[in-house]
């Protein structure tokens, strides 16, 4: 126990005297997560609360044009622009502006679109009433034109974004067509009832029998949060920063080997495992400290920068266990790198680049869900993704230890494997 405690104290003394190391471990990650949360705030708001300018050209001047404009405006996601410099926008201008990338979308409602919908509705109602023996018919156009609402997208627009807009406009078209159809049915029924008892209430039609309601899936207390820039970036980049502990650990181990202190330690009676254990305990502690420092930044600093406040869920015990698991994996990776490589330069370069790669594939930079399917499979092999998944389970899905223990076990498992490999390499080096 004395050897273990002495090693922890020695590492602490070394860290205190290493100002650059302290900056690398604590200050840089704070800057990193702040910058990343700020610059990724806009992309995260893309489909949430950012408003897009939407060019609309209403050549119809009827119900459809009005519905589309009002509907998109009410959605809160679009600023409707239908004129430029006081002049009504034309279809040609809208197409050119989108093509040049100045605007992302334009919607052109063609002339006669409402008339075409009305005529189609009248035709359907006439068919129904004729079969029911109701007298009278609504006017129908003799010739049916092919009328389309046109949408222009910025060529650089994302597929998902295009799909969402398509869906929204399609819904408005269906809504207008349904409204007009119901309106025509009411008209015909009123006409029929005018010869009998006429009460407006008798025509009320309840169109939506089944509604749509969104509920949280979490058990117990419900978390009313959505994944936003802070909710993704703070845990994600904290895990990234924790793994950067590889650099000081590997450097420390290589220096000990180079200057002979490792030799001295191995010549002292007792298992080297005590010393390694003390070293690992210290660095796991530093990782956990880093993690909670970053969480405090998410809770207290982010709101000061007009970003959402970090929500840590309700299971703080589970969070601590996950943070320890991540710290253990990061520290073990540092021990492995420090054992495999012979010079601090090799370790620094390999360590830093490998963490960037593991973090990129592990969903730290962008969520794993938006990656191609094959990359998602590869991404799930990264220890960083296990840590992030576990944190997301707690923060976003209100998960407890029962939900994250498998991921923690995976982190511990990979740590044991890395330490075993390091031990094997060290033993071979002795022989």
């Amino acid at each position: 126990m004395l050897r273990l405690l002495a090693t922890i104290r020695k590492e602490w003394q070394l860290l205190l005297r290493d100002k650059t190391g302290i900056i690398l471990l604590f200050i840089m990650p704070v800057v990193l997560i702040t910058v990343m949360a700020l610059i990724q705030d806009a992309p995260f708001r893309d489909y949430q609360d950012i408003k897009f300018d939407l060019l609309t050209v209403d050549n119809d001047h009827g119900k459809l044009g009005r519905y589309v404009k009002e509907g998109l405006s009410k959605s809160g996601q679009f600023n409707i622009i239908d004129s430029l410099d006081g002049q009504p926008l034309t279809a040609g201008q809208a197409r050119d502006l989108v093509n040049s990338g100045k605007y992302k979308i334009s919607i052109i409602v063609p002339q006669g679109a409402t008339a075409e919908i009305v005529s189609n509705a009248n035709k359907i109602v006439n068919d129904i009433t004729k079969r029911m023996g109701v007298p009278g018919s609504l006017p129908v156009k003799q010739r049916t034109d092919s009328v389309n609402v046109t949408i222009y997208f910025d060529p650089a627009a994302k597929k998902a974004f295009k799909g969402a807009i398509h869906q929204a406009v399609d819904n408005f078209l269906t809504q207008v067509e349904t409204d007009l159809l119901l309106d025509r049915i009411k008209q015909q029924l009123r006409r029929k009832d005018s010869t009998q008892v006429a009460t407006s209430d008798s025509f009320s039609i309840r169109l939506q029998a089944v509604g749509l309601k969104e509920l949280s899936t979490g058990a117990g207390k419900q978390l009313d949060i959505i994944s936003n820039s802070v909710q993704h970036n703070v845990p994600a980049w904290s895990i990234f920063a924790m793994f950067f502990i590889v650099i000081p650990i590997a450097g420390n181990m290589i220096r000990e080997r180079e200057d002979g202190s490792l030799l001295r330690m191995k010549l002292i009676p007792g298992a080297y495992l005590d010393i390694l254990g003390g070293k690992m305990l210290f660095f796991v502690g530093v990782c956990v400290l880093q993690f909670y420092l970053m969480m405090l930044v998410g809770i207290y600093l982010m709101p000061l920068l007009d970003l959402p406040r970090l929500v840590m869920g309700y299971h703080q015990g589970a969070t601590l266990v996950v943070a320890i698991g991540i710290g253990l994996a990061a520290t073990s990776y540092g021990v492995l790198i420090g054992t495999v490589f012979k010079t601090p330069n090799q370790a620094l370069n390999f360590g830093a680049i490998s963490i960037v790669i593991f973090s990129a594939i592990g969903g730290i930079w962008i969520p794993l869900e938006v990656m191609p399917e094959k990359m998602q499979v590869v991404g799930h092999l990264s220890a960083l993704s296990w840590g992030l998944d576990a944190i997301n389970d707690i923060y976003l899905r209100n998960g407890d230890i029962a939900m994250v223990w498998k991921k923690v076990l995976m982190l511990v498992g990979v740590s044991v494997v890395m330490l075993a490999v390091a031990g094997y390499i060290e033993k071979r080096r002795l022989n």
Binding site: L5, R9, K10, Q13, R264, I268, P269, G270, I275, N431
Partner: protein
């Protein structure tokens, strides 16, 4: 026989064609000051590593004070030897007291007894005034002296020193050599390597000159000088046996 007994040591490092040790054998008596001498690449450091149990020999045997240096006795041997490596095996960012406290703790010493011992040795080696100064701020001689203290905190019966006076000034060298004589007078055995043959001649009771992984000559330095009429000092004896060709 007690003391340090090395028999037929062979060692070839992985990836190396030429063996480093080719059946090296020698023996030093217990309680003396012995010198292991040889040109660069002779196999001195490898021999010391095998003596300490850090490197495994391909074949041959080592016995220290009657205890074989093998897997079963490695821990027992660690208790009786102290090693002063050629490098300054201390943490440069920590002070001498912090370094020595840490290594003392690893030996299982703690508290007031350890601190008193550290201060005693710091005084003895003229480092008390710089006890709280970081090692990287020390001069070369101060670093060497602190390096020796770290190896003797557990009062080893055998002190092995690899070039303990390399790159130090005359004052520091005198202090180190005087300490070795005093420590030896307290009953400890000393095995020491150096390229400074005049120094070896002055303190060693017996020497072994090794070259190309083999023992060349063994004996008392003064007797060896007398044995070769053309040699007036140990350096002449050394050159007589190892030749004038440069070693890389």
């Amino acid at each position: 026989m007690s003391g340090i007994v090395v028999k037929n040591l062979c060692k070839t490092y992985k990836g190396s064609i030429e063996p480093t040790l080719k059946g090296l054998s020698f023996q030093f008596r217990e309680g003396g000051i012995a010198g292991l001498l040889g040109p660069n690449g002779a196999g001195k450091t490898t021999t010391i590593s095998i003596l300490c149990g850090i490197t495994r020999a391909d074949s041959g045997s080592v016995t220290i004070f009657g205890t074989p240096q093998d897997a079963a006795h490695r821990e027992a041997i660690k208790h009786i030897i102290g090693i002063v490596p050629q490098q300054i095996a201390l943490y440069p960012q920590l002070s001498a007291v912090q370094n020595l406290t840490y290594f003392g703790n690893l030996y299982g010493f703690k508290g007031k007894a350890l601190q008193e011992k550290i201060m005693y040795y710091l005084e003895l080696f003229g480092l008390a005034h710089s006890a709280d100064k970081e090692i990287y701020k020390y001069s070369g001689g101060m670093k060497r002296r602190a390096n020796i203290i770290a190896a003797i905190l557990h009062d080893p019966r055998l002190l092995i020193l690899d070039e303990p006076t390399a790159g130090v000034d005359v004052q520091s060298r005198n202090l180190i050599l005087q300490f070795l004589k005093d420590y030896n007078a307290r009953g400890a055995s000393i095995l020491y390597t150096s390229h400074l043959l005049e120094e070896a001649q002055s303190i060693c009771e017996e020497i072994a000159i090794v070259d190309n992984g083999k023992m060349i000559v063994h004996g008392n330095p003064n007797e060896l000088i007398l044995k070769h009429s053309q040699c007036s000092n140990l350096e002449d004896v050394f050159l007589h046996y190892t030749g004038e060709a440069l070693r890389d």
